[in-house]
Point group: C2
């Protein structure tokens, strides 16, 4: 018993600071408090979190690996601005894997977890009915979280990680190319999806998920964005 207690204590005490900085930055990017292109200076971030640049660097590299941040040598880290092509790839990938996730989750999810998701939906709807940019951000965040919660019930940690990345990148894409900011129909679609899952109708749930992703993408305006620097233009 001494062994176990000790291990638990250590686990709780030692929270990884780089990890928590990563999470904070990640949330800020997904919430659009940090827009695409924003500079993330090591010293500045370090001062905010009261850590050295070493730790900040580590956090930035994680974000770079999942594509939320672009690191340019000797220039620093910037919040990514995905091209329309990258945006398409994000949604193509989601179309490929989310139906499988929904199928797995439909089989495994419990009644209690369905209830939890229903609570989440009412939260989404509350944000939907509020006005203002803060509510808009909360709405987008909650909408992504719905997809992540489903992934968490797929029983597959790898798929879960992939979805983390895809949902985060989707948020960036919507920030850049979204027309209405978030599609109006999104939430009734979430509800229909959940209903199908509750009925254990996996085929229907997959179908709804596919159309849902299509609708999210249809709300984007993926024409090449105008203001491109010469440098970026030549980089392609």
């Amino acid at each position: 018993m001494n062994l176990i207690d000790k291990n638990l204590m250590l686990d709780q005490n030692q929270e990884d600071r780089a990890q928590s900085i990563r999470d904070s930055l990640r949330d800020a990017i997904i919430d659009r408090r940090l827009g695409p292109g924003s500079k993330l200076a090591e010293a500045e971030v370090g001062a905010l979190f009261d850590v050295s640049r070493t730790v900040v660097r580590s956090a930035l590299q994680m974000l770079a690996y999942e594509g939320l941040v672009r690191i340019e040598r000797n220039r620093g880290a910037f919040v990514s601005n995905p091209t329309p092509e990258e945006a398409r790839q994000v949604f193509d990938t989601r179309r490929l894997i989310e139906p499988g996730i929904v199928r797995a989750a439909t089989v495994r999810i419990s009644k209690a977890d369905i209830e939890d998701l229903r609570d989440h939906l009412t939260l989404e709807e509350r944000f939907m009915n509020e006005r203002g940019p803060a509510a808009r951000r909360a709405e987008i965040k909650a909408s992504g979280d719905f997809h992540l919660k489903i992934a968490r019930h797929s029983g597959n940690a790898i798929l879960e990680k992939f979805m983390d990345e895809l949902v985060a990148r989707s948020s960036l894409v919507i920030a850049l190319y979204g027309r209405t900011g978030v599609s109006r129909c999104g939430h009734s679609e979430h509800r229909d999806l959940l209903d199908a899952m509750e009925r254990c109708d996996a085929d229907r749930a997959c179908d709804l998920m596919l159309h849902h992703i299509d609708h999210i993408e249809a709300d984007l305006d993926l024409r090449e964005v105008a203001a491109m620097t010469l440098k970026d233009a030549l980089a392609t």
Copy 2:
């Protein structure tokens, strides 16, 4: 440990050194020159590549992010040894995304690229007919590369990255749980797959890919491995 390719290092003069160290370690893990559980001490790796621990640390963190290395706080980095459950998740995920990759690649691939893949197949077969552990390693590496090359023709960089991770993790899994080391039927299956792609028969290609993945997984012995330390046993 003879991991270093001096020529490669010289090529990368100004390029990102951490990246090239990551690639070298990655190859060594995939090639099983570094077996699951091996300790990767920062100072040791740094001495081999003639860089400071800072750079090594960055490389190790990348590998940890893609699941090839496990970093334990204050203890260091070790080559992962995936559990049977993780192994199943790797193959479940491959079953989910590789058919889509093959479908996309079948549409987009050119005649010349098909030829290139055919050359790759003859290489695989050569390794298959050789004896000895070096040939075995080369065979496994080439087999994974076949899947990666197809992913590279999907036209989707995100899927490509996901496949990089999945193929690397598969190699680890096969190293741990493989019976014959590499399935005998694998290469004729590769050839059949390529034939279907050449005929632009995407449905057939998807089907072949699914069965191919099943066959790889069927060659594994995923019963719980015996020798578990008490510490690991309590960690679950």
